[in-house]
């Protein structure tokens, strides 16, 4: 595989697709995969390390705070269970959005994207409420090792969900305008990969940070 061969796909720009660029779809000649998807998976790989560090740091400092409030004092299993369920279901609606797009039902795809974004917003809403509540129970970012590591970890997760919501709404708008057609469903699929990843990070945080706290 020479460098020239790798450049080759650019040649059919314009010719086949009437001037619409499909750079994100350009197949990587060597591996036969859409670039956008490869980029997304690689990005998610780095995200594993990112959240891995935050979670490891949380555990490292767990039980080493010298002043309260303690995790078990602030966590509310009911509220977190509800928001967890909402996020989990948003993965389902996201899968349906991708499935609809791939089946050519772009209206449905747009609707599912909006529903998914709504679920994400509900999750973020719960998190804002949770942070507000914890703060008023005396847990600030600088209160203790628990405060610092907990807010950093869950805060970054919440930021990811927020970015995801914006991304999904952008996708929905583009689908609505006809800018994303079924043939480019991989664009929605990629947004979906990001969304599912954010969901699995929460699966880990929910179990290891929240539930294990109640299991002690």
């Amino acid at each position: 595989m020479s460098a020239i061969a790798a450049e080759a796909p650019h040649d059919d720009h314009g010719a086949d697709h009437g001037g619409h660029g499909h750079e994100e779809l350009v197949e990587n000649n060597y591996m036969k995969v859409p670039n956008v998807k490869l980029a997304l998976w690689t990005f998610l790989g780095s995200e594993c390390m990112f959240f891995g560090s935050l979670i490891a740091t949380y555990f490292f400092y767990l039980e080493k705070s010298i002043s309260g409030p303690l995790p078990a004092e602030v966590f509310s299993i009911e509220i977190t269970s509800i928001s967890t369920f909402v996020l989990l279901m948003s993965s389902f609606t996201m899968a349906l959005a991708v499935d609809s797009a791939k089946s050519g039902a772009m209206d449905k795809a747009r609707n599912w994207l909006v529903v998914t974004a709504l679920c994400g917003s509900v999750f973020v809403g719960f998190q804002v409420y949770e942070f507000y509540h914890f703060f008023h129970m005396g847990l600030a970012l600088q209160t203790s090792l628990f405060g610092s590591t907990f807010y950093t970890m869950t805060g970054f997760h919440g930021a990811h969900v927020t970015v995801g919501v914006i991304w999904l709404l952008m996708c929905a708008a583009l689908v609505n305008n006809g800018k994303i057609k079924a043939e480019r469903a991989v664009v929605i699929e990629s947004a979906g990969l990001y969304w599912h990843f954010v969901d699995i990070v929460w699966i880990i945080i929910f179990t290891f940070v929240y539930l294990l706290e109640f299991a002690k």
Binding site: G52, L88, A95, D99, K102
Partner: protein, 252 residues
Amino acid sequence: MSGILHDVESYHSHKKLYTKTAIILTVVTAAEIGLLFVPALKPFFTPMLVIMAVYKLAVVVGTFMHLGDDKNVFRLVFLAPMGMAVAMIYVVGLMVMPHFAPFGDGYVKLATHKSKDERYGTGEYSKEAIAARDNKPPHLSAEKYTALFASTKDFSAGKKLWGANCASCHKADGGGMPGLGPNMTDDCYLHGGSVYDIVNTVTNGVKGKAMIAFKSQLNEEEIDQVALYVRSMRGKNVAGGKKCEGDKVAAK
């Protein structure tokens, strides 16, 4: 250039599979939460929760993200860092977490590692418990002290000790000082007026007040002597003494 653009015609919907997956995820999550309400399973909480979380993760990655039947390169770029992240969480995080490490108490002991009780002063580390542990009970019984007082005629040893150790706060004549020690010559006591009580107060002091514990400065015999002297002052009601603090006891 086949493969770049998605082909709608050849696509088969996965709706049924996704619905099934959503149901599985809901059931497992409900099981995770429900588990916590079954105390009998407590010893298995951690392993069961871990297994269920890993299962959910695998289901989402395998079905929703269909990594299982996608290209190898995706598995490589995603699962390799994920493996490293898991190893990092395990090594850096969980090994120092006393509740999690598989070999008892965690292999890595940090210098700062203290139990929750120690850190937050609860249970056996509460202020009360520590004070109780530090307190040294008088070495004779209450009856013996009362009998000892009844048989003692000479309080001069105690008087000397009083002048040297106590007069600075309670005044040489025992009348007490404003803002410092209470009057010993009235018949009022904050911490009990029997010889036993006085020995106890002098030995262990009054926490949070100027009255310090004398157990490390005077020996048992000296404390007995000064306590007997304090008891002998009761009812003298010296002129200019502080007014009554605490409960009145029988005057003699």
